[in-house]
């Protein structure tokens, strides 16, 4: 059981950003993607989650055998895919609690009502684990949140939605040292045989907390190198240039 990306090409406004990408993310594993700015990491995340601005021109993506590209973004989410955004959007007027509740409600069969008491119990427990103040339930989604608070809020949503596959796009950026530890703990608590996690990051430091099974390097819309966690250490030391020289050679 896995997400399988084969020879994926995707573009936006006639500009090809993803250029023949292959990747397999099996359940039970944590993979990390690193790569220079502009290499297409966030684009990949958005293409996978079904953003309509991107057009897939070639290749395939399947999730546990199901053709992901056939599904609308909301269907992909309900099928078990989650994206923690690099830049989470602000939604004025909709409280965090109501937003998460609507997301859970959308997963229930027609006519079935989410149990409100159970929901709040679970929400508060998840917030406690992430050391989030209760006041964030009543505040509008991400509105006026600090950068780090937004990232924490993404992980709160992940904890509540319990996806089968999660993509975390630079969730570590903007987190202070304590927050990084807390959020990583939250993510690690969700590691399981039944869940695949893809972390996109620039910093090897995150991978000390969330230790990956595999590390991939993305450049210019492709995965150009894959290895174990030691690859991240090597990148930290040497940067990305040596890789492109090698692959060009």
């Amino acid at each position: 059981m896995s997400i399988d990306i084969r020879d994926l090409h995707a573009r936006i406004d006639d500009q090809e950003i993803i250029k023949g990408l292959n990747l397999t993310l099996p359940k039970g594993e944590v993979h990390a993607i690193m790569g220079p700015n502009g290499s297409g990491k966030s684009t990949l995340a958005k293409v996978l989650s079904g953003h309509e601005d991107y057009e897939v021109t070639n290749g395939s993506v399947s999730m546990d055998g199901e053709d992901l590209l056939e599904l609308e973004a909301d269907e992909r989410s309900r099928a078990g895919l989650f994206l923690a955004f690099q830049y989470p959007h602000e939604i004025p007027g909709v409280s965090n609690a109501n937003f998460i509740r609507a997301a859970l409600q959308a997963r229930l069969p027609e006519g079935e009502e989410l149990d409100a008491v159970g929901f709040y119990k679970e929400l508060y427990a998840a917030m406690d684990a992430l050391e989030m103040d209760r006041k964030f339930t009543g505040r509008a989604v991400n509105e006026g949140f600090s950068g780090g608070e937004k990232k924490r809020n993404e992980i709160l949503q992940m904890a509540m939605l319990k996806p089968v596959y999660a993509i975390l796009d630079e969730t570590d950026s903007g987190l202070d040292i304590d927050a990084l530890r807390i959020v990583s703990k939250g993510v690690n608590a969700m590691r399981s045989q039944d869940r695949g996690i893809l972390v996109i990051t620039h910093y090897q430091r995150l991978l000390d907390y969330i230790v990956p099974d595999h590390v991939h390097v993305m450049k210019d819309g492709k995965i150009i190198r894959s290895g174990d966690k030691n690859l991240a250490l090597e990148l930290e030391e040497r940067g990305y240039d040596w890789l492109s020289e090698e692959s060009a050679a």
Binding site: A73, R78, F85, F99, A106, L161
Partner: protein, 442 residues
């Protein structure tokens, strides 16, 4: 809506035919006042496009005011049915309830007039509290364009509430007043006058409704809030007339020193709704919050004119108008903050936000400032725009379908205003009404 009356009715138009005053019904002073108001109203022309207060206004709708006639009396069965329908707040959530059907009081449930409290229907107050009433009755002239309609109202009004809350008295639960218009092309002229003595507190909700969704009616209402020193008034006008109807609502707030007034307009019904709201801040420490939510759909139009007039130093006002526009609906907002010479340390804010839920919806906003004092904090702004794709995507990425996302965003957009009233029971009620309208749209 266009011309809605048969030609033979034209002669009985409220713009043409003098009101039928019944000499036995009201004392002389009142009848004489109404007669001279009628003469004055007759002398004024209907608003024209070149009049600044009517820029962007739909003048066809203005002219159509002449299509309405005096409301006939309602029969007992209709009256009973309307009273039965008048259940917005629970009995435990209100202090009183008055129901008017075509300006006749058909349900009368109100607090006892102890300790100087006056809580009376206008018709009753004219007779029993004439002196008090005269002191305050329509002393605030309309200035935002509807002078003629205000005079027309003055010449015809015979229903509504006169509430005088003496110093120190607090009515914590709201008083509800229902104004029904019944019959095709019928018109009503509901009046609301609230006067608070020093440190008094009161909450009033007016509902403007049609007896039938199939009938076109006109409500031409005037509301005057006179807040004494340190007093607190919470006022809501909830307009849910039939979608063929017309609404004219002229309101003023006069806030004395340290008085705090919050007023809210909820616009749900009527084909055309013109609201003119003025706040005069006339004493140090006075505050007026002016709130409005409108959710026009189909071809509905809301036309909103406001004035925040700071006449004294150290006064504050905060205006927040939000319109969520569907289909081919249309909104006009024109607001002015005026700070008089000497009104230093004024804090005045004015925000109009339009959420365009359809490509065919149209929003016009004309914010304005006129500052003649120093040390003033003023801001005005207006925004208009659709729900963005990025917003929708954030919802979809969490599994929430686009339609639900739009509803939640729109509902959230309006909820922010309703919450500012800080009246949980009323907020819950108004939310339900907004939600019901969205459900009808979906």
């Amino acid at each position: 809506m266009g011309v809605i009356v048969e030609a033979e009715n034209k002669s009985s138009s409220i713009l043409e035919e003098a009101p039928a005053w019944d000499a036995s019904e009201f004392p002389d002073w009142y009848r004489e006042m109404q007669e001279s108001a009628w003469e004055a109203a007759r002398a004024l022309p209907l608003p024209r496009a070149k009049n600044e207060p009517w820029r962007f206004a739909n003048l066809k709708q203005v002219a159509a005011v002449g299509d309405y006639v005096a409301a006939p009396p309602v029969d007992e069965e209709t009256a009973r049915e309307l009273v039965a329908r008048s259940r917005m707040l629970d009995t435990s959530e209100h202090r009183g309830k008055l129901v008017f059907a075509n300006e006749t009081l058909v349900h009368d449930e109100r607090p006892d007039e102890d300790g100087g409290l006056i809580c009376a229907s206008l018709a009753e107050a004219v007779t029993t509290h004439g002196q008090r009433l005269q002191e305050y009755f329509m002393t605030q002239e309309a200035t935002l364009g509807s002078e003629k309609f205000a005079l027309l109202h003055k010449s015809r009004t015979r229903s509504g509430l006169f509430l005088y809350v003496p110093a120190g008295m607090e009515l914590t639960l709201p008083i509800e007043v229902y104004h029904y218009v019944a019959g095709h092309c019928a018109s009503i002229f509901p009046h609301t006058l609230i006067v608070t003595g020093e440190n008094a507190k009161v909450t009033v909700v007016d509902y403007y409704q049609s007896a039938s969704e199939d009938e076109a009616g006109l409500s031409c209402g005037v509301v005057d809030l006179v807040a004494g020193q340190g007093s607190q008034i919470r006022y809501v006008a909830c307009q849910n007339l039939s979608t063929r109807s017309a609404n004219i609502h002229i309101s003023s707030t006069l806030a004395s020193a340290d008085a705090d007034v919050k007023s809210l307009q909820l616009q749900l019904g009527s084909a055309w709704s013109r609201t003119e709201s003025v706040s005069h801040l006339s004493g140090k420490g006075a505050n007026s919050d002016m709130l409005s939510v409108a959710v026009p759909a189909a071809g509905q139009e809301v036309d909103q004119r406001t004035l925040q007039h700071h006449a004294e130093a150290h006064t504050t006002s905060d205006l927040l108008y939000k319109n969520a526009l569907s289909d081919r609906s249309r909104s006009v907002f024109a607001g002015l903050i005026m700070v008089d010479e000497g009104a230093h340390y004024t804090d005045a804010y004015q925000t109009c936000r339009n959420l365009l839920l359809s490509d065919d919806a149209e929003a016009n906003a004309m914010p304005g400032l006129e500052i003649n004092a120093d040390q003033v904090k003023c801001s005005h702004g207006s925004t208009s725009g659709p729900i963005t794709d990025e917003e929708i995507f954030y919802f979809k990425a969490r599994g929430i379908p686009a339609e639900t996302a739009k509803q939640l965003i729109t509902f959230g957009f309006t909820a922010e205003v309703l919450a500012k009233l800080e009246q949980p029971a009323i907020e819950a009620l108004l939310s339900r009404l907004v939600e019901a309208k969205f459900e009808k749209l979906a």
